[in-house]
């Protein structure tokens, strides 16, 4: 659990997706903006809340605010997960 992979994020994003507006996360989605992927601010919050619960990693408002692409999430989570397990 000390590395947060693209697949981990993809799984969380799929479970948080709007079932009425399915999005493809099959290709390279990491640098596409959340709003372009069909995730509004509440959906991004849902992703952050899932990570907070599943990985016991605090996700303060300022951090969530700065997450505009999936890569932002990976870049925020990984160094902090390593700190937690160090």
């Amino acid at each position: 659990m000390s590395v947060f992979t693209t697949d981990d994020l993809r799984n969380i994003m799929r479970s948080s997706a709007d079932e009425d507006a399915p999005v493809s996360l099959d290709g390279d989605f990491l640098d596409t903006r959340f709003d372009e992927l069909g995730y509004d601010s509440l959906a991004v919050l849902e992703i952050a809340t899932r990570i907070q619960q599943d990985y016991h990693l605090p996700m303060p408002d300022d951090a969530v605010d700065a997450m505009t692409t999936p890569r932002d999430v990976i870049d925020y989570v990984n160094p902090r997960l390593q700190d937690l397990s160090a």
Binding site: D20, D40, S41, L42, V44, L45, T49, D61, V64, D65
Partner: protein, 334 residues
């Protein structure tokens, strides 16, 4: 001089009557969706709102407040001259002074009343109920008219897809008077100014408008997800505290009337509280939108009109909004 300062004996208070005013103009999602670049289904899914009411030019804040206040007085069987205090909770009295409450007191003929406004945004109504109740309990007034009234459309950016479909207008009022038994429990309230950026005005009188008369009209700005996160994580605890302060347990609550901010928030708080299906939950937001300080009396009014609740039932009220501020109390339904 041997006289001693005397104060009245403390007494109980309760809500004696409730009145509402809903603006005449119904605005369905279809009227707003295209302009905002949103679908009707998305608005409904993300807010629970299918329509809301916008006040016309004639439906001013005093007009709506007097209409709601007059109905509350009639239901309570209290004459205007018996009113010792008028407390108006509002965020949209843009005249600033004189207060909304003083004009409402004058128009209603409440000539013996002290009158003032309370600014606690979407928590304004439970704040004002707490004040009105304490005025009656302490003997400062025998009857207090508490009003929650808003014309949020006056401070709305009608092109902002994060707020324009959420907010709306309306007014509600209650008369609080003395009671032989407790009818309004102690308030559980607080303020967290560290979260002020979540929702508030985007511009100000000064220095913005004072230094640049062409500066844009100040409007309501909101990071909805921040409010959602705060409300869904913190408000259940505040609601529990209000129930404890009233000497009750949650399973003794029969009606839940939260501020009608967003159906998702209402659902989240209900889930956290673990309310049973026998508890009547106000969901007036579907047809009223978020009317800020007016939302709780409007929502309770709808439940009374549809006979879903009845006089004497125990209702838990909770409001929360810009500040961020919050307040909750248990009341007996009038």
């Amino acid at each position: 001089m041997t006289g001693r300062l005397r104060v009245p004996e403390p007494r109980c208070s309760r809500i004696l009557g409730l009145g509402t005013y809903r603006p005449s103009r119904v605005v369905p999602n279809a009227e707003l969706a295209a302009r905002l670049g949103l679908s009707e289904a998305w608005i409904s899914k993300r807010s629970g709102i299918t329509s809301r009411r916008f006040a016309t030019d004639e439906e001013t804040l005093p007009f709506m407040s007097v209409a709601a206040g007059g109905k509350a007085l009639a239901q309570a069987g209290v004459a205007p001259e018996q009113i010792g205090g008028v407390v108006a909770a509002t965020t949209t009295h843009l005249t600033q002074m004189p207060s909304l409450a003083s004009e409402v007191a004058f128009r209603l003929g409440a000539t013996a009343a002290g009158a003032f406004d309370v600014l606690a945004a979407c928590a304004g109504f439970p704040y004002a109920v707490a004040l009105g109740s304490d005025l009656v309990r302490a003997g400062s007034a025998d009857h207090v008219l508490v009003i929650g009234a808003e014309r949020i459309t006056d401070i709305l950016d009608h092109d902002d897809p994060s707020t324009a479909f959420l907010f709306a207008d309306g007014a509600g009022a209650v008369v609080i008077g003395p009671s032989a038994t407790p009818g309004i429990g102690p308030v559980a309230w607080g303020a967290d100014g560290s979260r002020s950026s979540a929702v508030g005005m985007t511009g100000y009188w000064t220095p913005d408008l004072r230094t640049d008369a062409r500066a844009p009209w100040p409007v309501l700005g909101m990071a909805g997800w921040k409010v959602f996160r705060w409300a869904s994580e913190e408000m259940a605890g505040v609601a529990r505290r209000a129930v404890e302060l009233a000497g009750l347990t949650l399973d003794e609550i029969e009606v839940f009337v939260p501020h009608q901010a967003n159906m998702l928030i209402i659902d989240a708080i209900c889930g956290q509280l673990g309310l049973g299906s026998e508890v009547v939950v106000a969901r007036d937001i579907a047809e009223s939108g978020n009317t800020s300080a007016a939302s709780i009396p409007l929502a309770m009014g709808r439940l009374l009109e549809s006979d879903e609740i009845h006089s004497g039932q125990r209702a838990l009220l909770i409001g929360f909004g810009s500040g961020l501020v919050y307040a909750a109390q248990v009341v007996e339904v009038p």
